[in-house]
Symmetry: C2
Subunit: 217 residues, 2 copies
């Protein structure tokens, strides 16, 4: 198939789509850890929202004559590796993973989206990155748990730092292997100083999310 989309844009849609598909799978799996029906309902609703995003990206790829599976394939290994290396041990770790992971991914893709040439694709990317409701629910639940048992904060802060570390390892791997995607970012007028500022923005946002949870970044 030939598509009017360039390889970098296809890569971006592919990694986003597989990211949403795995987020769906893991959130739905983690719903089993939920202590109450109402918590299970909340997590399952988030998972279903991620699937809705996945479906839109999938349909968009097809409508642009791109085989969605081909587009996702290069990102199966790094994304599976990320999830396999970070299985939540309990309900709170699962919520924190959903909140921090979604937040970091959204920040990153939002930055990349500004370099996407095709306006329809850019609009779709920004749209599927909108919050699926994790944020307020995760923050409320985690802060309440820490208030009830302050000793939790240490373990959960370590968990948050570990998640970012594992995410960076896999992101670096993608950057090395997917030239087009990396060039979209770097070639999109981002020089070394620009990349430095990008990393600072991402780190600042991550720190803000950790603080919202009541955790030290």
């Amino acid at each position: 198939m030939t598509s009017r989309l360039d390889q970098a844009t296809i890569d971006l849609l592919g990694v986003l789509a597989y990211g949403e598909l795995t987020a769906f799978e893991r959130l739905a799996t983690d719903a089993r850890l939920a202590p109450t029906i109402s918590d299970k309902h909340a997590l399952a609703s988030m998972a279903a929202a991620e699937f809705g995003h996945y479906q839109r990206l999938y349909d968009h790829l097809r409508s642009e004559s791109v085989d969605p599976e081909e587009a996702m394939r290069p990102f199966v290994e790094p994304l599976d590796a990320f999830h396999d290396s970070t299985p939540p041990n309990d309900w709170l770790e699962s919520l924190i993973k959903a909140y921090l992971g979604d937040g970091l991914a959204a920040d990153f893709y939002r930055e990349v989206a500004t370099f996407v040439q095709d306006p329809v694709t850019r609009g779709l990317v920004l749209e599927v990155l909108a919050d699926t409701g994790q944020a307020s629910f995760a923050v409320a639940t985690v802060t309440a748990a820490i208030a009830a048992d302050p000793a939790l904060a240490g373990r959960l802060a370590l968990w948050g730092r570990r998640l970012v570390g594992e995410a960076l390892i896999q992101a670096q791997r993608v950057a090395v292997e997917r030239d087009a995607l990396t060039e979209l970012l770097v070639g999109g007028s981002l020089d070394l100083a620009g990349i430095g500022r990008l990393l600072t923005r991402l780190t600042d946002n991550h720190t803000a999310r950790m603080q919202a949870l009541g955790l030290q970044a």
Copy 2:
């Protein structure tokens, strides 16, 4: 809250809703066993369809002034016990469980639905029991796998029989504990001979599904 729905109807909606929610969870979890992206896509799509059904039942309960969590609560233990006692060991077992489980549940609820007084509820029950696409996908995948490796048929047939056995154990438990639901079925003009015919219909349909998979019931 007081609702115009009677307890038996609330029970039916509750067990259906929690059934869909756990089906969603388990299917999405099993999507991790899928050997290809395309299989994963298929299973995740079915899971998302189950969630859509769950959402409709949940919304219907709320619109009828019933707390959905209260309605689901009595069925958490038996349904969780069913799933905990039947974790699929591989992708094929997971597909068979989805297909047989969904089929048996649909047959049963379809029978019960005829006794539901409220027409809106009856319509909704029949609608959410419609096939979510498992059937043809599961049949095609399982029969292809057995054609490629006929030795599989024995193990998978045992698996199918075990699923029904475990389902019956939990159904019996629900029948004993939920008088209203049982009376809906029995009181709905079903005498002993009628129950015998009901069980025969359910068993016949199950046998037909096993045969469609190429398995001995």
